[in-house]
Symmetry: C2
Subunit: 138 residues, 2 copies
């Protein structure tokens, strides 16, 4: 089962010009995963979202506007990652509880996934998450 | 060869709560294409970007912050599409010249593609584009 040490943080090239930026993510190249689903979340300064784990899904998070802090938790250890530039990439493997704190106004988080949406893949209750982790060890 | 009538504009469900929005794009479900590449462009109010066509690539554009107007051109007719909400989706098939006008400050455009990056797929000169279209008809 994945632990905090399996969480990857890396950067991709950011192409800048006077007009703005461009960042790109090629499946199986910049990203190790297949791309099956992309979703985008916008939230207000100070909001906390996420608060779930996935049984099988890998998520790749990029903050494309504003800033977020993501807390990842394997049931024993936590790791906080600041996503405050669009070239910073956070890969969260399955089995990790994650919460996103929107640390700037008007932030937009893009999440790339290796599987289609499946509600049964979500663990939305923290006690159930801890039980899931305990079963994984036995 | 694709024409203006092959450009698709559609909406996906936008999940709203007091905190913001969530929009999701599942390959082969919300989107007809495979997802091979995602890129994100941010630009200033009044900027124009794009100005190229693709030989083979299909692009799906979503404005996730701010607003853009996209002009699509098949060499004979033009179509302008306003992307001012993150649930509006613009699918541009191959063979269409496109330009994006950033019509609000601090706009962010997400582009989902069905092929990896390949510079030889780009047609960056408008005269070459018109010649490419003419060859496609002969």
């Amino acid at each position: 089962m994945n632990s905090i040490s399996d969480i990857q943080v890396f950067t991709v090239p950011k192409f800048l010009d006077r007009q703005g930026y461009l960042v790109a993510f090629d499946a199986k190249l910049d990203l190790k995963i297949d791309l099956r689903r992309v979703f985008v979340v916008s939230s207000h300064f100070g909001d906390i979202r996420g608060k779930h784990a996935h049984r099988c899904l890998t998520q790749i998070l990029v903050c494309v506007h504003g800033a977020c802090r993501v807390t990842c938790d394997d049931g024993e250890s936590k790791k906080e990652v600041a996503l405050d530039r669009p070239d910073i990439v956070l890969e969260i493997p399955p089995g990790i509880w994650a919460e996103q704190y929107y640390s700037a106004p008007d932030s937009v988080l893009m999440v790339m996934c290796d599987l289609p949406y499946d509600e049964s893949d979500y663990i939305r209750n923290y006690d159930n998450f801890i039980a899931f982790r305990a079963r994984g060890k036995s």
